[in-house]
Amino acid sequence: MAALPKRIIKETERLVSDPVPGITAIPKEDNLRHFEVFIDGPSSSPYAGGHFSLELFLPDDYPMCAPKVRFLTKIYHPNIDKLGRICLDVLKDNWSPALQIRTILLSIQALLGAPNPDDPLANDVAEDWKKDEKKAIETAQSWTKQYASAKLQE
């Protein structure tokens, strides 16, 4: 494996030394471009109390292209499909090399707090969400409890 760019080393160090509340990102030992990520659901959202596991991978041309991020924990969200893929502009066209791992993870956390059913990835969820938002939120809460409660992660 090619030497790890200084930028990645620096970012990793800062994630450890100056962690974002509610977010942890730890590189895997076998591949330092591969991160194990946990994001706590925002308190004001249906995902509150959830402890979501994600994986993040930094491609070779990072930071010129976006990191690849995917939910591992099942989640009921209009912008996250059942494979855990995330529909988020900064992960796609709006990526900027000035963004970092921490900014991306914060964006994802924000996405949990503000689901956007008008730009859906999981169409069925988005439809439910539009039809009956209250019920959808309940489903999200129950999924969070079922799949993302902190105890399950142990």
Binding site: A98, T103, L106
Partner: protein, 506 residues
């Protein structure tokens, strides 16, 4: 004016004018300015005849570098016997015209032939510093000093000549007339105009002083002779010698504080030509005076040299098969003058495109100046494969001081930082100075390149976008070239047009 004085006066003048002639052929000769414009001239006849002589000589002395090199070689050889003491001027002076013309038509073996002595780097600042020294000490640099600068192939020639006139002007008021004759003979019309306008009437009067002051230069200015002095008495002390100060200063500038001389080799890259040489990262080597450093092919044995830190004294190695294992060597003498020798390389060493020696034959030591282009070997099999490419490089000698952080770039950097801070105040910093990066203070944040996250520091190549964000040029380049001339700022997402007219209005 008595005829005697004239006689005494003339020989040196002629010697100088010979070098001035050389100068002329390197500088774009402005107009046909009459060397005979010499004021009050009972001797104009002799002068002109000499001038003709000069003219015939000039091209060979100046343009042909090979000859110059030979001269310097021979003067190296002669350095032992060449030192005519500075104060023996009077005898020399009284040797009258014939002697002078001998000097003119001289073979290189004649010791007091200053202009050829070293190929001197003519970096403008050096000249300036010698210039300021001359003002400070009240001694103008020796008249031959300037022609020396002109000798080189530097692009700053034009600057130099204008400095030269300036210098002459400044010297004159001191009543030190040393500058007069060389100036008038330097033959640029501008200068001779200046002479006739402002100095002409006086020059006779000053002429009486000439014999002594002027004699110094032709007789003493053997570079090696002189440079030895410089080593023993660096910088300030030597300045008292008047005739020597400028040169010495410029040379001693090159030595590092730790007493090393440095060479930096950068690959000669020409994107317009398909046949570029081997690419290598710039190499910096430093050696003690009077030592040398070998250039050769990378082998298992000298592996360490390939990874030697910049500024070490390790051999210089290249990963090209057209480079012999011991291909050439750099040598640096006591005075920081660098030389190049081909050490029986099989595919040749080229200095400014001229091969130094046939295959497997050792060349003589060739003096080098800053900016010389050296090529090791020739492309083999069309140079399509990297390992069969020749090595083309540009050399910088004794210029490490130029790359050091100094007051100037520190100040500029400070200003740049301020610019960014001010800018940040007004700006919607939604992206970069998000809560996240915003955790550090703005100032720190902006001292950092958003792409590599390393600090932005003096002496780094930067790119500053119209929105006043800055990155290392190396970091931002892929983004710039991807959509040039449109530039989408990764920090603030402003779309900038890099081809906007640079008109001053607005």
């Amino acid at each position: 004016m008595p005829e005697n004085t004239r006689d005494v006066l003339n020989p040196p003048a002629r010697v100088i004018s010979s070098s001035a002639k050389r100068t002329k052929s390197t500088t774009p000769p402005p107009l046909s300015s009459p060397p005979t414009s010499y004021p009050s001239s009972p001797i104009t006849e002799t002068l002109t005849s000499n001038d003709i002589q000069n003219n015939s000589q000039a091209p060979s002395g100046s343009i042909n570098r090979a000859i110059t090199r030979n001269d310097s070689q021979s003067s190296l050889n002669n350095s032992s016997n060449s030192s005519i003491p500075v104060n023996s001027n009077s005898t020399h002076a009284s040797n009258n015209n014939t002697n002078a013309s001998n000097i003119l038509s001289s073979s290189p073996s004649q010791p007091p032939q200053p202009p050829n002595v070293t190929r001197r780097s003519s970096f403008g600042l050096n000249f300036l510093s010698s210039f300021t020294n001359s003002i400070r000490t009240g001694h103008p640099p020796s008249p031959t000093e300037n022609p020396h600068s002109f000798m080189s192939n530097s692009p700053t020639i034009a600057n130099l000549s204008s400095f030269a006139t300036l210098e002459d002007e400044l010297i004159a008021p001191n009543g030190n007339s040393r500058g007069h004759q060389p100036r008038s003979r330097r033959n640029s019309s501008r200068q001779s105009n200046r002479l006739s306008n402002s100095q002409g009437p006086h020059s006779n009067g000053h002429g009486a002083d000439h014999p002594i002051t002027q004699q110094e230069s032709p007789s003493s200015n053997n570079a090696f002779d002189e440079s030895h002095d410089q080593v023993t008495t660096p910088n300030g002390i030597v300045e008292n010698n008047g005739a020597r100060d400028g040169r010495n200063d410029s040379i001693s500038n090159g030595i590092d504080k730790d007493g090393f001389y440095s060479v930096r080799l950068t690959p000669l890259i020409d994107h317009s030509s398909s046949a570029s040489g081997l690419y290598f990262s710039p190499v910096i080597r430093k050696i003690k005076p009077s030592s040398n450093i070998s250039i050769g092919r990378y082998t298992e044995k000298n592996k360490a040299a390939a990874h030697a830190p910049q500024g070490s004294s390790a051999p210089i190695v290249f990963k090209s098969k057209v480079v012999s294992r011991t291909h050439a060597l750099f040598q640096c003498n006591e005075d920081g003058q660098w030389f190049l020798r081909d050490c029986k390389s099989s595919s040749g060493t080229f200095l400014n495109h001229i091969r130094l020696s046939p295959a497997s034959q050792e060349s003589t030591l060739m003096p080098l100046i800053d900016g010389d282009i050296i090529q090791l070997g020739m492309d083999y099999r069309g140079g399509t494969e990297e390992v069969y490419r020749c090595v083309k490089m540009r050399c910088e000698f004794n210029k490490s001081w130029q790359r050091k952080v100094n007051q100037f770039n520190l100040e500029i950097h400070k200003k740049l930082k301020n610019l960014q801070i001010n800018n940040e105040d007004n700006e919607d910093s939604r992206l970069v100075t998000n809560p996240i990066t915003g955790s550090s203070t703005n100032v720190d944040d902006l001292a950092e390149c958003a792409i590599c996250l390393m600090k932005i520091e003096p002496c780094q190549a930067l790119f500053i976008s119209p929105c006043s964000h800055a990155w290392h040029y190396k970091c931002i380049r892929p983004i710039i070239i991807k959509s040039y001339p449109q530039f989408y700022c990764p920090n603030c997402r402003t779309m900038c047009d890099l081809e906007t007219d640079l008109d001053e209005d607005d």
